[in-house]
């Protein structure tokens, strides 16, 4: 039996006793080599879920296995094999892109780091910006630099929180192309939290719909669109977010 990239059981995060849990007993599996979308409105629990998968947030209850490793017991065995990118974190702005990639390559123990940096710079069209300070880059260039950091260790699992937020359509399309190519060529799994439905339809083989900390539906974009009797994921998203989904889904 192949070990899943992510295997989550009854995962719960409660920040305070007097408010509902941010994540409420969710279970799901992400197979290796698959791109899975994590959809939901603001406050649905996507970022909280990703933070727990990465180990920077300790769950209240439940289990997380990443690439066969129990994250509560031995997260440092899994961390070298995954990576992430999020608009909530930045690369140090006063360091050049090359310096940032050198530092994170060192943290992940990447061998032949110079060659890897050159390879990523070529792949993500960053060569001309390698020696510029990260803080001086445009948001599209910064996003590509963050993606280069996320790919520096050739992760088997990539967790991305809104990877194309605030990008113009051209840059966003290029980034999606890079992600598609990476998943295909490396056989990596990607869990993608996004508000961009076109992105989800293009990249994801499977989608988890979250609302109020729970997974309320799951399926491929085509299945979900058909099941809800809608034309695209945007309409499915609105049905779920506004609570008009039950009738359509049944």
């Amino acid at each position: 039996m192949t070990i899943a990239a992510i295997n989550v059981r009854d995962l719960t995060k409660r920040f305070r006793d007097d408010v509902p849990p941010a994540v409420d007993g969710i279970s799901f599996t992400v197979p290796r080599g698959q791109v899975v979308g994590l959809l939901g409105g603001n406050g649905a629990g996507k970022t909280t879920t990703i933070s727990m998968l990465l180990g920077i947030l300790i769950p209240t209850a439940g289990t997380i296995d990443i690439l066969g490793v129990d994250m509560r017991r031995d997260r440092y065995a899994a961390l070298p094999r995954l990576n992430f990118s999020s608009p909530y974190v930045d690369l140090p702005s006063r360091l050049t892109v090359r310096e940032n990639l050198d530092v994170f390559g060192g943290l992940y123990g990447v061998r032949d780091l110079k060659a890897r940096i050159a390879e990523l710079a070529e792949l993500l069209d960053l060569t001309a910006f390698l020696d510029r300070k990260t803080g001086s880059l445009s948001s599209g260039q910064k996003t590509r630099a963050a993606l280069a950091k996320a790919l520096i260790n050739r992760p088997e699992l990539l967790l991305l929180d809104e990877p194309t937020a605030s990008l113009d359509p051209d840059t966003a399309d290029r980034v999606r192309g890079h992600l598609e190519a990476y998943a295909r060529t490396q056989g990596a799994a990607i869990l993608l939290a996004s508000h961009n439905m076109a992105e989800v339809e293009r990249l994801c083989a499977d989608v988890l719909m979250m609302k109020a900390g729970r997974i309320v539906d799951r399926g491929s974009p085509a299945d979900l669109i058909a099941r809800y009797g809608r034309e695209d994921m945007e309409q499915v998203f609105l049905d779920v977010a506004r609570g008009t989904a039950q009738a359509a889904a049944q």
Binding site: F15, T47, T48, S51, L54, G55, I56, L57, I58, Y76, L79, P80, L82, N83, F84, S86, Y88, V89, D90, L91, P92, S93, R94, L95, T96, E99, D102, V103, F104, G105, G106, L107, Y108, G109, K133, K149
Partner: protein
């Protein structure tokens, strides 16, 4: 272990790159120790003219200001490196990498030594031509004093790091102010014997007090007090263990509260 060294090296490079890109940061490190040394140097010149005691103990104030700056810069150096990660919203990037908290703390300590050397060394060298005083004349005891003060600076830095993990950048002011609370009772400028009786036990609970008493013993009485050094070292070990425990506890609590992803105010 090799992996740990590689990661500590990477973290150290991250801050050396920062120095290389920002000379204002380097200037900031050097500025205060040089200014302090200059002021106390002139005070020493004046007092030497007024008092035979001071004339016999030439340089005791300059030695004190330089050693005090070793302590201050060590703590600032450790705390500043942590603050740089918080200011640049980089903590989550670091802690989803294989970097362990103890490796992070070790790199902060290494950077603290680097920052304190960059800060204090120019002031110490400048004191030689300006005031004909060389702190290096203390010889090997200087190394012992330096190590004790750096260890205490690390401990206070780790405790402030724990506060930063707990309260975020709202606790930033503690990073700059906390260390000065121990200055009046560490006997930096005067012997502990001048303190009121009720304050003396508190003074003797600080490793820094033994260092400054030891410094005066070397400079005035020309004896190196091994007993003071041993007591400073023992206290440092206890305080460091407590500070490291507090740092790791606060880190775990930050992981429970989700503060590593959004470590702002």
């Amino acid at each position: 272990m090799n992996g740990s060294l590689t990661r500590i090296g990477a973290m150290t490079r991250r801050h050396l790159y920062l120095f290389r890109s920002s000379w204002t940061r380097v200037f900031d490190l050097v500025y205060w120790p040089v200014l302090q040394m200059t002021i106390w140097g002139f005070v020493t010149v004046f007092l030497n003219q007024q008092s035979s005691w001071f004339a016999n103990a030439a340089g005791v104030l300059i030695g004190a200001v330089l050693l005090w700056d070793v302590l201050v810069r060590s703590q600032f150096g450790l705390t500043l490196s942590l603050l740089e990660e918080m200011w640049s919203r980089n903590l989550a990037n670091l802690f989803v990498s294989p970097l362990r908290p103890w490796e992070f703390a070790a790199s902060l300590m290494l950077l603290s030594v680097t920052r304190s050397m960059i800060g204090v060394l120019p002031a110490a060298l400048l004191a030689i031509p300006l005031f004909a005083y060389s702190v290096f004349d203390l010889g090997l005891p200087l190394l012992a004093f330096w190590m004790m003060l750096v260890m205490l600076g690390w401990s206070i830095g780790l405790l402030i790091g724990a506060l930063l993990f707990r309260f975020g950048l709202a606790a930033e002011s503690y990073a700059w102010a906390s260390i000065f609370i121990i200055q009046p009772i560490s006997g930096v400028w005067y012997p502990v014997s001048v303190l009121p009786e009720w304050l003396k036990p508190l003074a003797w609970s600080l490793p820094s007090t033994y260092v400054f008493e030891g410094m005066r013993a070397v400079m005035i009485d020309r004896v190196f007090r091994w007993d003071l050094l041993a007591q400073a070292f023992a206290l440092n070990l206890v305080i460091m263990a407590l500070a490291f425990g507090a740092f790791l506890f606060a880190f775990t609590r930050a992981r429970e509260r989700g503060q590593l992803l959004q470590s702002s105010e």
